[in-house]
């Protein structure tokens, strides 16, 4: 590894190093305050090191990883999201009587996994990143060691392991056919060769199964509501944002680089998945009475929207996905942030009824939640609106009329359950004994305030973010 390789990998190295340091520090002495401080310093340093790495991009580090603007953008997004999640975890665990420090180590390790995913240009790094992420997540989901988190953890473990097996099998088939594991070489070989590629499409299909599981798109979505419901709220927010976002970044890089998106059968498969996710996600969310399950189904639908942009393919599509993920990260963190901040010492506000009259008791919190839900629904002034606009623009520019119209119709169905949730918050409150946190901690307030400000800023003046994503394309 050369010096420039090390500089390019600096963000990754800093995050990985911080997790090692934390592990050692925890072995010496447990201190929640010190742990969060070290985590934040490490993440901030990693975030800052992106600017050190930026001048030497694009840089291929071995055949495994590629550090280009695309990777660095996602590094920034993942690390920034992680800072928010770490603060929410601090607030959440502070209210509970458990060992707290290990969760931060797992969080950082999972982040390493996601960062490897977004930078990988090779099957080996793809799989390593995925497994680092998954294994950390098993423990994070079950962290509280209560029956429901444990159940969710086991469910995730079994299904993730199975899907990883599918993924490996798919990779093996593609390798058998093309003789390479590098994304970029696949495009050359498959376009140059004239021999029939009998194993390629089955291989790709199996890979889609593995990716689809992580993205939780229909029909690979069955774990989502249970895991969302069972996992602690901040962990759920990690699954919803970082895990899915990184996977999507990889999906785009892999299919755009390897030329898989040019295959008509693959396009058809993704089209069906996108349509099914948009419709099923939004329809099933209508039936839920549990807020975390509603958000789970809503995230399925949102992955469907992202697939519309993915299918549009091209520069505008890459930008649309990047922008949408920024909006989606902020919004989803905000929504789960509200749940997390409202959580008491042994319960989370899960049922819709728990939110009844929130506006009259905790107006600020209710306003934040309202804005987050409106952003998920894509209403103007919020980042979600510009994101949706971008995706519809990408779809329209390549004339994907059917997909765009289904997106529009299903998002109106989606609006229905967001409005239901919003309306409940403004009903007159019932006086009942509540196990929820009675006041917002200052850290929770700062996180939610920042996220709301970001959401509105990006929604009203998206120029800077648009500038950031302009012209970026995965190498």
């Amino acid at each position: 590894m050369t010096r420039s390789d090390a500089i390019a990998l600096l963000p990754l190295i800093v995050v990985a190093g911080t997790s090692m340091l934390l592990m050692l520090a925890t072995a010496v002495r447990r201190s929640h305050g010190f742990t969060i401080a070290l985590t934040l310093v490490g993440l901030a340093a990693a975030f800052g090191s992106i600017w050190i790495a930026a001048p030497i991009t694009p840089c291929q580090v071995t055949t495994l990883l590629v550090i280009d603007n695309y990777s660095l953008f996602y590094f920034g997004l993942l690390i920034a999201g992680d800072i928010g999640i770490a603060l929410l975890v601090y607030d959440y665990l502070g209210k509970r009587d458990v060992h707290r420090e290990e969760l931060y180590i797992l969080l950082l390790l999972a982040t390493v996994g996601t960062m490897v995913l977004v930078a990988s240009s090779h099957f080996a790094s793809f799989f390593l990143g995925l497994e680092t992420l998954s294994i950390s997540l098993y423990a994070m989901i079950a962290y509280l060691q209560l029956p429901r988190p444990l159940e969710a953890g086991i469910k995730y473990l079994i299904l993730a392991a199975a899907s990883a097996a599918f993924l490996l099998f798919g990779m093996a088939l593609v390798y058998a056919d093309l003789g390479t594991m590098e994304f970029a070489r696949m495009a050359q070989i498959s376009s140059a060769g004239t021999a029939p590629r009998g194993l390629l499409v089955p291989g790709l299909s199996l890979i889609i199964t593995g990716i689809g599981f992580k993205l939780a798109v229909v029909p690979f979505h069955l774990w989502t509501p249970d895991v969302y419901e069972g996992a602690p709220a901040p962990v759920t927010s990690f699954i919803a944002t970082a895990s899915k976002g990184a996977m999507f970044a990889l999906l785009m890089r892999y299919f755009y680089r390897s030329g898989g998106i040019a295959d008509r059968q693959i396009v058809l498969v993704f089209t069906i998945i996108a349509i099914a996710s948009m419709i099923a996600g939004n329809l099933l969310a209508l039936l839920q009475g549990n807020v975390k399950r509603i958000l789970a189904y809503s995230s399925i639908a949102h992955m469907g929207y992202l697939l519309v942009a993915f299918l549009a393919s091209g520069q505008l599509a890459v930008e649309a996905v990047m922008f949408y993920l920024v909006a989606y990260f902020v919004t989803t963190l905000g929504a789960f942030g509200v749940i997390s901040v409202l959580s008491g010492s042994n319960s989370e506000p899960e049922q819709i009824e728990d939110y009844r009259g929130l506006f009259w008791q905790r107006p600020a919190l209710a306003c934040v939640f309202t804005i987050m839900l409106l952003s998920l629904a894509g209403i103007p002034v919020t980042a979600g609106f510009i994101g949706k606009f971008y995706i519809v623009a990408a779809g329209t520019s390549t004339a994907l009329w059917a997909l765009v119209i289904i997106l529009v119709v299903s998002s109106v169905i989606g609006l229905f359950y967001y409005l239901r949730l919003i309306a409940v918050m403004y009903l007159t409150p019932e006086t009942h004994v509540t196990t929820l946190a009675q006041r917002t901690s200052s850290i929770g307030g700062v996180v939610l305030g920042t996220l709301t400000a970001l959401l509105l800023w990006v929604g009203i003046y998206p120029g800077p973010v648009l500038h950031l994503v302009e012209g970026v394309f995965p190498r």
Partner: protein, 502 residues
């Protein structure tokens, strides 16, 4: 610059009112009142200042403009512009804004601050719709006015408010998103033809389109405006939303939100897609006549005071649609006068419904009767606006409908005759309203207080304006003339260009 103030005053006053209401609810009301009055006065000053130009037709396309770069990546501008058409609709907006604040003075007692925040923000959104000259900005404002309106209905509405508010939101959201697709399609078509990415209204006007593409885009726009207007098959949200909304909400809905649909047809559908709109005109006009008759007949069958008035809106807005698609100067002027007059007369009828509900706690007309004996002034006002609604000569609605019929006669005699039958139906429902509620004997022994000073203050200016519109509509016609000429020119320029291309 003055244009941004119109919006900024409302937005800022809404926030201030919200905060202030924590300590003093009365102050919040005064702030809201001051903001709407300030905006109204600004538009009045602009009108008076530029009136000579309107009469002499010397002003350019716009009398006021504001153009800031907003999102350069997509060529989106924050572009507001004012012409005679927008100016008249803005004056209506702020006039009804003042009415809505005043009418809520006693009616709204819970969540006063949040109520006024929503009320002022709806008005701000409507102002944005009437001023936006960038299609993205237009869509932005179009969507933005939904959220506060949703809250107005959902939080302060009557019995079935949840159902009504969600239905309202979903209908408008779906149709709005279809318009967004059409806007984007136009945007990319314009780029394909000229190499420039822009949402600018005046530039998109000259986009060459294939006739199929034009047809589909026109439909996307038309649907969004048809839902707002509303046109008959997609009107079902309206009776529910109008009936369940609080009085101020009904006034804003009927008086203003419906007008945004008509405005969109006038400003965007026909000038942007003249060819397709021309082909589509017969269908639109048939839909308009169906709306006129259907709304009238259903209004006749209602026993709920507000629901009756809601159905009359469908009927009146049918005339507006008819006038727009007849697309000659008489008909367009008529459509505009109908929009304004309907805003006033229907707004006033909703105010009266609100006053009745405040006093009697019912909107059911079978429980009313002989109210004249106990509330002569309120009943008199009710009679006046009911007569306005049925199109009595001398009041605003008559002028508008008369001009529309006159203009339509040149296009289709059959439709004119059928629409005239609609005027007849209006007589039935308006008189029935008056007979049921106000005339007859007071069989339920109602003893109710008559209008108080604040309520007189609301209704008296509305009476004056309606009379003025009916007796001397010339200033309105003068003000809108050049704007309407411009719209007609856009449309015809486009048609001749298409003809030359062939």
């Amino acid at each position: 610059m003055i244009l941004i103030w119109l919006i900024a005053i409302l937005v800022a006053a809404g926030l201030v009112a919200w905060v202030v209401a924590r300590w003093n609810t009365q102050a919040a009301r005064w702030i809201a009142l001051a903001a709407t009055i300030a905006d109204f006065v600004i538009t009045l000053i602009v009108w008076v200042r530029h009136y000579r130009q309107f009469v002499l037709l010397t002003q350019g396309n716009w009398i006021e403009q504001l153009d800031w770069k907003w999102i350069p990546r997509f060529g989106i501008h924050f572009h507001l512009a004012l012409d005679g058409l927008s100016l008249l609709l803005l004056m209506l907006t702020f006039f009804l804004g003042i009415v809505s604040v005043l009418v809520s003075w006693a009616e709204i007692q819970e969540g006063v601050g949040f109520f006024h925040l929503n009320l002022l923000w709806v008005l701000a959104g409507i102002t944005g719709v009437f001023l936006a000259m960038d299609l993205f900005l237009f869509y932005f404002a179009w969507e933005l006015m939904l959220v506060p309106m949703y809250f107005l209905i959902a939080l302060w509405g009557h019995e079935r408010r949840q159902y009504a508010s969600v239905k309202f939101f979903l209908f408008t959201q779906l149709s709005g998103l279809l318009m967004l697709i059409a806007i984007l399609a136009l945007y990319f078509a314009h780029h394909a033809a000229s190499g420039v990415y822009t949402f600018e209204y005046e530039e998109l006007l000259s986009t060459p389109l294939s006739s199929t593409a034009e047809w589909w885009m026109m439909l996307g726009f038309f649907l969004a405006f048809a839902v707002k207007l509303p046109i008959v098959p997609v009107h079902t949200w309206l009776p529910d939303a109008h009936t369940e909304a609080p009085t101020a909400g009904s006034v804003v809905l009927a008086g203003l939100l419906l007008k945004t649909g008509a405005y969109g047809l006038l400003r965007f559908v026909v000038p942007l897609f003249p060819g397709a709109a021309h082909q589509f005109a017969p269908i639109a006009m048939i839909l308009a006549v169906i709306g006129i008759l259907y709304g009238g007949v259903l209004a006749f069958g209602q026993t709920d005071f507000k629901r009756l008035v809601a159905y009359t809106s469908i009927s009146h807005l049918g005339f507006v649609l008819l006038g727009i698609f007849a697309w000659n100067e008489l008909a367009l002027q008529g459509a505009l006068i109908t929009m304004i007059a309907h805003g006033i007369s229907t707004g006033a009828l909703f105010v009266i419904a609100g006053l009745l509900q405040d006093r009697m706690h019912t909107r059911d007309m079978t429980r009313m009767s002989g109210l004249w004996s106990t509330m002569p002034r309120l009943s008199g006002a009710g009679l006046f606006f009911a007569l306005g609604s049925l199109g009595l000569p001398g009041l605003g609605d008559f002028v508008g409908e008369f001009l529309v019929l006159l203009g339509t006669y040149r296009v289709s005699k059959v439709l004119t005759v059928l629409a005239t039958v609609g005027v007849l139906v209006a007589t039935f429902y308006a008189l029935r309203l008056v007979q049921r509620a106000f005339h007859g004997t007071n069989i339920h022994q109602w003893r109710l207080p008559d209008l108080v000073k604040r309520e007189v203050l609301i209704l008296a200016p509305m009476i004056v304006v309606l009379l003025w519109l009916g007796l001397y509509p010339l200033p309105i016609l003068n003000t809108s003339k050049s704007a309407i000429d411009n719209l007609q020119q856009y449309a015809s320029r486009h048609i001749t260009a298409a003809a030359e291309a062939k």
